[in-house]
Symmetry: C2
Subunit: 297 residues, 2 copies
């Protein structure tokens, strides 16, 4: 479950609730495209904005619609008490694994974050992926802390943020981390614009937000990298530069991906939880032009 | 309500629930000390870690125990939908005002934050204090955005983070902000170690975390500043340097204040929501020594 392309779909919603039919359709598209795994309720799935009941419902819908494709479910929350409840709900929903980020309001220290993972792992019967996303959690893992947490028996993967630099530089960083973790714990890259480089540098998988909307295009990059054709993987990713630029321009991928899904009629507007908004006006039109050029699928 | 010393008490809790008797006692101590206002469910009150029902209960307890002292209640949440519900609950509990921070998981932009305050203000019948705390929300207000939001009719105060520098430097910063906001909107300083300077520099009030535990000591600083005795206010604050150093050492004031409350028997251990922990071992002993020297009250 923690290798290859894991696709993280949107959870489309308005102020009135979740767009369940649209969400189910997104999941079915991912399964049809034969992604390696589905990550429901990741950051792109807006897990942090939903109630416990809504998250349980989304987890159930994802598992029910995914067929044989394994589903991992995000269980992050500010409070350990709530993470434990969400872990139970995810397992009851049939999740094959869970994804846990150290979400913070008050800044966390290493001891507190280790304590969180230790407590949660003791309560889990499915594998866990450590979700390292400093852009949203504002917690910076050291490699040493990753090493400690990866010794916990349920931990099977680490989702690291995009690493800037060329393939050799990223390979050095991945190998530094790999020396500190057990050999059966995989390393997956996120940060879509840098993912092809990450895969070429030896990451075992790609935890992809954009893959939740355009799985076939992102599978082509993934399969090229897996086959050792680094040049092709990098070229396929470089072709998407206007999209990656759009992510950078709009403070990350979420608003861009949600706007793209609205533009293609896959979800209704509004699709993000207020106060978050999709792109408007000239920004929206510019994205529409990019999508028309790139022919993503 | 939005001038002088506003004291922000802890909401002591364990994994089993809120320590209601201890919380009530904290509120009664603040009222007995005659603070100008009480801020329930601020950052020090761990609002972000509690359920809607728990927050409504804490708001009711605070108002019931505060006598004639006005109580403002924190209504921050990631989602506009939830902020609106919390605003209603706070008003039903009898809050005299509310405090709203733009809490984020996905980074927010100015347009989204303005939209949040605009929507919430339309639903409010009590005054609102804008809570600017980039250390926890990871949103940086520009003075221009403060100016736009302060025009909303319910906005009556802005709680700004501590401003480094001497009195003249801080005065320049406060006056720059004041030129952009209506004259009936007050500016309150937070960041306890820098508060005496802030008051001396013309801030109308001090939104104080440590004042929620040691109101008399912090009132002495506030009253000296209000009487124009800048030298005395700064000297009283300088005497607390070992405490301010402790805040800096432990990533902010919360863990220190909660440990102090545990050490003094005002709350039971544990008093913070996991994964957050109070100080242990040598750090805890060092704080006990500081408290013994300073004789705070």
């Amino acid at each position: 479950m923690f290798t290859g392309l894991s696709a993280f779909p949107l959870t489309p919603m308005s102020e009135r609730g979740i767009q369940e039919a649209a969400f189910t359709h997104l999941i079915e598209s991912l399964t049809a495209a034969r992604v390696d795994a589905i990550g429901a309720l990741g950051s792109t799935g807006s897990y942090a904005y939903l109630t416990r009941a809504e998250r349980a419902r989304v987890a159930k819908l994802a598992v029910a619609s995914a067929g044989d494709t394994p589903v991992m479910v995000g269980i992050g929350a500010l409070r350990t008490r709530d993470v434990l409840t969400l872990a139970e709900d995810a397992q009851l929903a049939g999740a094959s694994g869970v994804l846990l980020a150290p979400v913070s309001y008050q800044n966390l220290n290493d001891d507190e974050v280790f304590g969180l993972y230790d407590t949660v792992c003791r309560a889990l019967s499915v594998p866990l992926c450590v979700y390292d996303n400093p852009g949203t959690t504002h917690f910076a893992f050291s490699d040493e802390l990753h090493g400690r947490i990866a010794q916990l028996p349920q931990v099977r993967s680490i989702k690291i943020p995009g690493v800037p630099g060329d393939v050799e530089a990223v390979r050095a960083r991945v190998e530094r981390l790999r020396r500190l973790i057990p050999s059966d714990v995989t390393i997956g890259i996120s940060g879509d614009p840098l993912a092809a480089t990450g895969l070429a540098a030896g990451c075992d998988g790609w935890y992809s937000a954009i893959g939740g909307l355009y799985p076939r295009t992102m599978l082509a990059i993934t399969r090229a990298a897996q086959a050792g054709d680094t040049e092709q993987a990098l070229a396929l990713s470089a072709r998407l530069t206007p999209l990656w630029d759009s992510f950078r321009q709009h403070g990350g991928s979420l608003r861009v991906i949600a706007t793209a899904a609205e533009l293609q009629g896959l979800v209704s507007h509004p699709s993000l939880p207020l106060p978050l908004k999709t792109l408007e006006g000239a920004d929206r039109q510019a994205l529409a032009n990019v999508l028309e050029t790139l022919e993503l699928e």
